[in-house]
Amino acid sequence: MAAIQLAKKAVTLPPTVRTLASGVPSASLINLSVREPAGHGHGHGHGVGPRSDVPPKWVGGVSANSSVGLVSRNVVNGMEAVLAAGISLPPSTGIFQKRLIHSSVPAKDAPQVPDFSHYEAKSESTNRGVAYFMIGSLGLLSATVAKSTVTEFLATMAASADVLAMAKVEIELASIPEGKNAIIKWRGKPVFIRHRTQDEVQDARSTNWKSLRDPQSDEDRTKKPEWLVMLGVCTHLGCVPIGEAGDYGGWFCPCHGSHYDISGRIRKGPAPSNLEVPQYDFDEANGLLVIG
């Protein structure tokens, strides 16, 4: 009896201490009628009640004997083995295995699974909605951050405000009378602005431009027929041509003798192409010409 008392206190008692001659392990200390701890609270099908995997009575079983304590009987293999628990008999085979895998229920003092039902969501659909809302909000913020990162990075490559301010030049159109040239400096280069007379426009437009060295129509080179705006840099070697000179009534480059007509097109001399037309716009409200 003392041995049984001790065994009750042990937590990891090997249920099988010896094997029978038939090879069947003798599990004399397993209490097969033990029940699960009451109220462990997870409803997965089995209620509190007698176990369904108890072997039938005719197989054998554990019974209490007043003289020797627990007695395990096993009649599965046609023979009857009666063993008293706590009495150490020599194993009937030479093989002795300590089997530590067991299927008994955990001891009562093992930690019980707490009741988590208090923390469960009150409403499944609200929970789902909130979860997706949080996910979507995080995605929204992340997309904003990503977009702003990219745009700010690209903005670092843009020209700074002082450079942009220097890049534009404004001229009052009223200050240039008809038939006169104006030369201004824009981005370190001279820009020719010619207020052409009607005759000059006629002359520029009636030229057979398709046969020129750099064929370009006057309509392509001007936004308004009376205003001719172009860079005053000879396309040959970069001299500044002289206005109202040359064989074609336009510009003449003194360095190597290139002649430009009244639309700034190369007509004679070494220059390969027409005088370049910069980007410009008219500010009608203030009567301004904005170059750049």
């Binding site: 609200t126 789902r128 909605g129 997706y132 929204l140 977009k147």
Partner: protein, 61 residues
């Protein structure tokens, strides 16, 4: 409850709609954030910026 269900059924149920609405929301949020911060900045610095004191130095042309 019904609000959460409406949100789920209109926006979340199809992933294409969900992702599209996230990107559209990001665009709108970005614009709104910009406007809000700018107006806050202007009100915080009222009377200090050039556009506030321009009238003292330049006549309207």
């Amino acid at each position: 409850m019904s609000l959460a269900n409406a949100f789920y059924n209109t926006l979340v149920k199809r992933n294409s709609v969900y992702v599209t609405s996230i990107f559209a929301g990001a665009f709108g949020f970005g614009v709104g954030f910009d406007v809000g911060i700018t107006s806050f900045y202007d009100s915080w610095n009222k009377g200090k910026q050039w556009k506030d004191i321009r009238g003292k130095y330049l006549e309207e042309s």
